[in-house]
Symmetry: C2
Subunit: 116 residues, 2 copies
Protein backbone atom coordinates (compact mmCIF):
# COMPACT_ATOMS: atom_id res chain seq x y z
CA UNK A 1 0.00 0.00 0.00
CA UNK A 2 1.09 3.55 -0.62
CA UNK A 3 1.90 5.99 2.11
CA UNK A 4 -1.41 7.79 1.96
CA UNK A 5 -3.43 4.67 2.55
CA UNK A 6 -1.18 3.57 5.41
CA UNK A 7 -1.63 6.99 6.90
CA UNK A 8 -5.39 6.71 6.67
CA UNK A 9 -5.41 3.20 8.11
CA UNK A 10 -3.02 3.88 10.96
CA UNK A 11 -3.98 7.42 11.79
CA UNK A 12 -0.36 8.49 11.56
CA UNK A 13 0.43 11.44 9.37
CA UNK A 14 2.33 10.99 6.14
CA UNK A 15 4.88 13.35 7.58
CA UNK A 16 5.52 11.08 10.54
CA UNK A 17 5.66 7.92 8.47
CA UNK A 18 8.48 9.47 6.50
CA UNK A 19 10.07 10.66 9.71
CA UNK A 20 9.99 7.14 11.16
CA UNK A 21 11.84 6.01 8.09
CA UNK A 22 14.33 8.84 8.32
CA UNK A 23 15.04 7.77 11.90
CA UNK A 24 15.68 4.21 10.82
CA UNK A 25 12.48 2.62 12.09
CA UNK A 26 11.10 1.60 8.72
CA UNK A 27 12.57 0.59 5.39
CA UNK A 28 9.63 0.26 3.03
CA UNK A 29 10.27 -1.03 -0.47
CA UNK A 30 10.29 1.48 -3.24
CA UNK A 31 8.65 1.30 -6.63
CA UNK A 32 10.66 2.27 -9.65
CA UNK A 33 9.03 5.64 -9.38
CA UNK A 34 10.39 6.10 -5.89
CA UNK A 35 7.00 5.68 -4.24
CA UNK A 36 7.11 3.87 -0.90
CA UNK A 37 5.32 0.53 -0.79
CA UNK A 38 4.25 -0.71 2.64
CA UNK A 39 3.39 -4.28 3.51
CA UNK A 40 0.79 -5.45 6.01
CA UNK A 41 3.66 -6.46 8.31
CA UNK A 42 4.95 -2.94 8.17
CA UNK A 43 1.54 -1.66 9.11
CA UNK A 44 1.77 -3.71 12.27
CA UNK A 45 5.22 -2.38 13.03
CA UNK A 46 3.94 1.13 12.55
CA UNK A 47 1.14 0.51 15.01
CA UNK A 48 3.56 -0.76 17.58
CA UNK A 49 5.91 2.12 17.08
CA UNK A 50 3.00 4.41 17.64
CA UNK A 51 1.95 2.55 20.75
CA UNK A 52 5.41 2.68 22.26
CA UNK A 53 5.72 6.29 21.25
CA UNK A 54 2.46 7.17 22.92
CA UNK A 55 3.78 5.36 25.97
CA UNK A 56 6.55 7.91 26.09
CA UNK A 57 9.47 6.11 24.50
CA UNK A 58 11.64 8.14 22.19
CA UNK A 59 11.98 7.02 18.62
CA UNK A 60 15.65 6.44 19.19
CA UNK A 61 14.86 4.02 22.01
CA UNK A 62 12.24 2.30 19.93
CA UNK A 63 14.80 1.85 17.22
CA UNK A 64 17.02 -0.03 19.65
CA UNK A 65 14.11 -2.26 20.51
CA UNK A 66 13.10 -2.88 16.92
CA UNK A 67 14.34 -6.47 16.93
CA UNK A 68 11.88 -7.06 19.77
CA UNK A 69 8.90 -5.73 17.93
CA UNK A 70 9.77 -7.21 14.57
CA UNK A 71 9.44 -10.78 15.75
CA UNK A 72 7.36 -12.25 18.51
CA UNK A 73 10.06 -14.67 19.45
CA UNK A 74 13.72 -13.94 19.71
CA UNK A 75 15.68 -15.83 17.11
CA UNK A 76 19.06 -14.40 17.88
CA UNK A 77 21.49 -14.12 20.72
CA UNK A 78 20.31 -11.14 22.74
CA UNK A 79 22.90 -8.44 22.72
CA UNK A 80 23.43 -7.32 26.32
CA UNK A 81 22.87 -3.75 25.35
CA UNK A 82 19.42 -4.49 24.01
CA UNK A 83 18.71 -6.42 27.16
CA UNK A 84 19.74 -3.47 29.28
CA UNK A 85 17.64 -1.09 27.23
CA UNK A 86 14.71 -3.42 27.59
CA UNK A 87 15.03 -3.53 31.36
CA UNK A 88 15.58 0.17 31.61
CA UNK A 89 12.56 1.03 29.52
CA UNK A 90 10.42 -1.49 31.34
CA UNK A 91 11.36 0.24 34.57
CA UNK A 92 10.62 3.61 33.03
CA UNK A 93 7.21 2.44 31.88
CA UNK A 94 6.41 1.08 35.33
CA UNK A 95 7.43 4.39 36.81
CA UNK A 96 5.24 6.23 34.36
CA UNK A 97 2.28 4.00 35.11
CA UNK A 98 2.75 4.70 38.80
CA UNK A 99 2.81 8.43 38.13
CA UNK A 100 -0.29 8.24 36.02
CA UNK A 101 -2.18 6.26 38.61
CA UNK A 102 -1.31 8.74 41.33
CA UNK A 103 -2.31 11.62 39.14
CA UNK A 104 -5.46 9.88 38.12
CA UNK A 105 -6.39 9.40 41.73
CA UNK A 106 -5.85 13.04 42.61
CA UNK A 107 -8.01 14.19 39.73
CA UNK A 108 -10.66 11.53 40.21
CA UNK A 109 -11.04 12.33 43.88
CA UNK A 110 -11.40 15.94 43.10
CA UNK A 111 -13.92 15.29 40.37
CA UNK A 112 -15.86 13.11 42.78
CA UNK A 113 -15.92 15.87 45.36
CA UNK A 114 -17.01 18.39 42.78
CA UNK A 115 -19.91 16.42 41.39
CA UNK A 116 -21.26 15.07 44.65
Amino acid sequence: MKIGELSRRSGISVRMLRYYEQEGLLQPNRRESGYREYSAAEEQVVRRIRMLGDAGLKLETIRHLLPCILSDRPDFEPCPEVLATLRRELGGIDERIKCLKSSRQILAEYLGALTR
Copy 2:
Protein backbone atom coordinates in the same frame (compact mmCIF):
# COMPACT_ATOMS: atom_id res chain seq x y z
CA MET B 1 13.10 28.30 51.39
CA LYS B 2 15.09 29.63 48.49
CA ILE B 3 14.96 28.24 45.01
CA GLY B 4 18.15 26.24 45.30
CA GLU B 5 16.97 24.32 48.31
CA LEU B 6 13.60 23.63 46.74
CA SER B 7 15.41 22.39 43.69
CA ARG B 8 17.52 20.03 45.78
CA ARG B 9 14.55 18.78 47.76
CA SER B 10 12.26 18.26 44.79
CA GLY B 11 14.76 17.18 42.19
CA ILE B 12 13.47 19.81 39.80
CA SER B 13 16.01 22.11 38.23
CA VAL B 14 16.13 25.75 39.18
CA ARG B 15 15.51 26.51 35.55
CA MET B 16 12.26 24.58 35.56
CA LEU B 17 11.04 26.08 38.83
CA ARG B 18 11.35 29.48 37.27
CA TYR B 19 9.68 28.20 34.12
CA TYR B 20 6.71 26.87 36.11
CA GLU B 21 6.33 30.33 37.53
CA GLN B 22 6.61 31.95 34.14
CA GLU B 23 3.80 29.70 32.93
CA GLY B 24 1.60 30.73 35.82
CA LEU B 25 1.84 27.57 37.91
CA LEU B 26 3.57 29.13 40.91
CA GLN B 27 3.60 32.57 42.52
CA PRO B 28 6.23 32.37 45.25
CA ASN B 29 6.65 35.36 47.54
CA ARG B 30 9.60 37.60 46.94
CA ARG B 31 12.06 39.01 49.43
CA GLU B 32 12.94 42.64 49.14
CA SER B 33 16.03 41.54 47.30
CA GLY B 34 13.89 39.86 44.67
CA TYR B 35 14.79 36.36 45.82
CA ARG B 36 11.95 33.86 45.57
CA GLU B 37 10.72 32.43 48.85
CA TYR B 38 8.92 29.09 48.70
CA SER B 39 6.64 27.67 51.38
CA ALA B 40 6.20 24.03 52.31
CA ALA B 41 2.78 24.13 50.65
CA GLU B 42 4.41 25.28 47.45
CA GLU B 43 6.82 22.38 47.67
CA GLN B 44 3.85 20.05 47.62
CA VAL B 45 2.35 21.82 44.64
CA VAL B 46 5.65 21.51 42.84
CA ARG B 47 5.72 17.79 43.48
CA ARG B 48 2.25 17.38 42.11
CA ILE B 49 3.02 19.46 39.06
CA ARG B 50 5.97 17.25 38.46
CA MET B 51 3.89 14.12 38.90
CA LEU B 52 1.26 15.30 36.46
CA GLY B 53 3.95 16.44 34.10
CA ASP B 54 5.70 13.09 34.21
CA ALA B 55 2.35 11.55 33.51
CA GLY B 56 2.32 13.41 30.24
CA LEU B 57 0.11 16.43 30.92
CA LYS B 58 1.20 19.69 29.45
CA LEU B 59 1.91 22.57 31.79
CA GLU B 60 -0.91 24.53 30.25
CA THR B 61 -3.33 21.75 31.15
CA ILE B 62 -1.91 21.50 34.63
CA ARG B 63 -2.46 25.21 35.04
CA HIS B 64 -6.14 24.73 34.32
CA LEU B 65 -6.28 22.04 36.95
CA LEU B 66 -4.40 24.05 39.55
CA PRO B 67 -7.49 24.66 41.70
CA CYS B 68 -7.79 20.88 42.00
CA ILE B 69 -4.29 20.36 43.26
CA LEU B 70 -4.18 23.41 45.49
CA SER B 71 -6.88 22.17 47.82
CA ASP B 72 -8.01 18.68 48.70
CA ARG B 73 -11.62 19.69 48.83
CA PRO B 74 -13.40 22.05 46.50
CA ASP B 75 -14.56 25.18 48.21
CA PHE B 76 -16.02 26.93 45.22
CA GLU B 77 -18.63 26.37 42.57
CA PRO B 78 -16.90 24.27 39.93
CA CYS B 79 -16.65 26.17 36.70
CA PRO B 80 -17.95 23.89 33.95
CA GLU B 81 -14.83 24.40 31.94
CA VAL B 82 -12.64 23.06 34.72
CA LEU B 83 -15.01 20.15 35.05
CA ALA B 84 -14.71 19.43 31.34
CA THR B 85 -10.94 19.68 31.45
CA LEU B 86 -10.92 17.33 34.39
CA ARG B 87 -13.01 14.73 32.59
CA ARG B 88 -11.06 15.09 29.41
CA GLU B 89 -7.71 14.67 31.13
CA LEU B 90 -8.98 11.77 33.18
CA GLY B 91 -9.96 10.09 29.94
CA GLY B 92 -6.59 10.92 28.44
CA ILE B 93 -4.80 9.45 31.42
CA ASP B 94 -6.82 6.27 31.20
CA GLU B 95 -5.96 6.04 27.55
CA ARG B 96 -2.30 6.55 28.31
CA ILE B 97 -2.32 3.91 31.01
CA LYS B 98 -3.84 1.49 28.52
CA CYS B 99 -1.10 2.32 26.03
CA LEU B 100 1.59 1.86 28.61
CA LYS B 101 0.25 -1.47 29.73
CA SER B 102 0.13 -2.75 26.17
CA SER B 103 3.65 -1.58 25.53
CA ARG B 104 4.81 -3.00 28.80
CA GLN B 105 3.40 -6.36 27.87
CA ILE B 106 5.11 -6.38 24.50
CA LEU B 107 8.49 -5.63 26.05
CA ALA B 108 8.00 -7.88 29.06
CA GLU B 109 7.06 -10.84 26.91
CA TYR B 110 10.07 -10.29 24.80
CA LEU B 111 12.36 -9.95 27.78
CA GLY B 112 10.91 -13.14 29.18
CA ALA B 113 11.60 -14.98 25.96
CA LEU B 114 15.13 -13.64 25.83
CA THR B 115 16.12 -14.59 29.33
CA ARG B 116 14.43 -17.96 29.49
